[in-house]
């Protein structure tokens, strides 16, 4: 099973992870973080393959993908 973690307080809402996730299982939050951005979160972890593409596109290096 895949463990996906986002450091939401460091997310700047660029949307790269959301855009490039092959499974399209990421989306923006409704609320804003303290930086004033809508941050990325997982809507459907089940479908995650752990491919790491989201992390490989994240300009803030705040996504970790682990198999557990």
């Amino acid at each position: 099973m895949i463990q996906l973690s986002f450091q939401k307080e460091r997310c700047k809402g660029c949307g790269f992870c959301i855009e490039f996730c092959p499974k399209k299982i990421l989306e923006f939050s409704q609320e804003m973080n303290n930086l004033g951005y809508r941050y990325a979160l997982v809507k459907d972890l089940e479908k995650c393959t752990g491919c790491g593409i989201c992390a490989s596109m994240c300009p803030e290096v705040i996504i970790e993908v682990k198999e557990v």
């Binding site: 895949i2 460091r10 700047k12 809402g13 660029c14 949307g15 790269f16 855009e19 490039f20 951005y37 752990g50 491919c51 790491g52 593409i53 992390a55 490989s56 596109m57 994240c58 300009p59 803030e60 290096v61 996504i63 970790e64 993908v65 682990k66 198999e67």
Partner: protein, 253 residues
């Protein structure tokens, strides 16, 4: 592709100052990953520059130097002559490298100085608020080309890879981008080749990376990636412009 992703130990935990979607972040990460994968964290000296990458020495978790604007290749030369066995690379923007730093760049290639330049080309001066750079595209609007860059007034986009590839001292010269996952992987491979070229003592190496500056382009992050893919690559073709000829060159070629 290897599953999962963990942040490399070659990056500190300092929060980054980049704007949303700035490609500097991706490029920082790739440099750090390659250094870690090559096992060179304690053998690397990174030479920053003045531009939006100015804080690289705070973000990289290895020795770092903050030189004056444009002079990184000269500073790196000084470092390398003292530590010939260490990995020494510069991280420079297009204003820093291709404008004020032209002489230092060209002559580190002429000398075949055994260093690597990571060249982040976002076609303008980001840190100072988006003025024209030598790399600005024709027609591109910047704060100093309000009607778009014209040949008459400011000439033509400067093609650094094409220029340096003519030099005998240059061993590896490539241009890549990071506008999608595939390109990100290619960029990482190119950085690795460059670093391996240096560690094999084959001479000067440079990787030019086309990079998005959503803020000064007045685009959102995804539009900015598209702009790189569609407009920048047309003027700055991606690919390897020079590869080491020496057979003794590292395995990965």
């Amino acid at each position: 592709m290897a599953k999962g992703y963990v942040k490399p130990t070659t990056l500190t935990d300092v929060p980054w100052h980049f704007c949303p979607g700035c490609n500097h972040g991706i490029i920082h990460r790739l440099c750090a990953e390659v250094v870690e994968e090559m096992g060179l964290q304690s053998q690397t000296i990174g030479v920053g520059s003045v531009g939006c990458g100015v804080f690289s020495y705070n973000y990289f978790n290895f020795d770092g130097i903050g030189p004056s604007h444009g002079r990184a290749p000269a500073v790196a030369t000084g470092v390398k002559r003292v530590h010939p066995d260490k990995l020494v690379f510069t991280y420079q923007g297009d204003g820093d490298l291709a404008a004020i730093g032209t002489t230092e760049m060209v002559h580190s290639a002429v000398r075949g100085e055994n260093i690597t330049i990571i060249f982040v080309n976002n076609s303008l001066y980001g840190m100072t608020g988006g003025q024209m750079a030598p790399t600005t595209l024709l027609g591109q609007k910047t704060s100093t080309t309000p009607k778009g860059r014209t040949r008459e007034q400011a000439g033509y986009p400067m093609k650094v890879c094409e220029m340096l590839a003519t030099m005998d001292g240059a061993a590896y010269i490539a241009r890549t981008a990071v506008f999608n996952p595939a390109q990100v992987n290619k960029t990482k491979k190119a950085i690795r080749k460059a670093f391996e070229t240096q560690m094999a003592g084959l001479g000067f190496s440079m990787v030019e990376i086309l990079s998005a500056c959503p803020t000064n382009w007045g685009m959102n992050p995804l539009q900015a990636l598209k702009h790189v893919e569609e407009n920048m690559t047309a003027v700055y073709p991606l690919g390897e412009y020079k590869v080491p000829t020496d057979p003794s060159s590292a395995g990965s070629f």
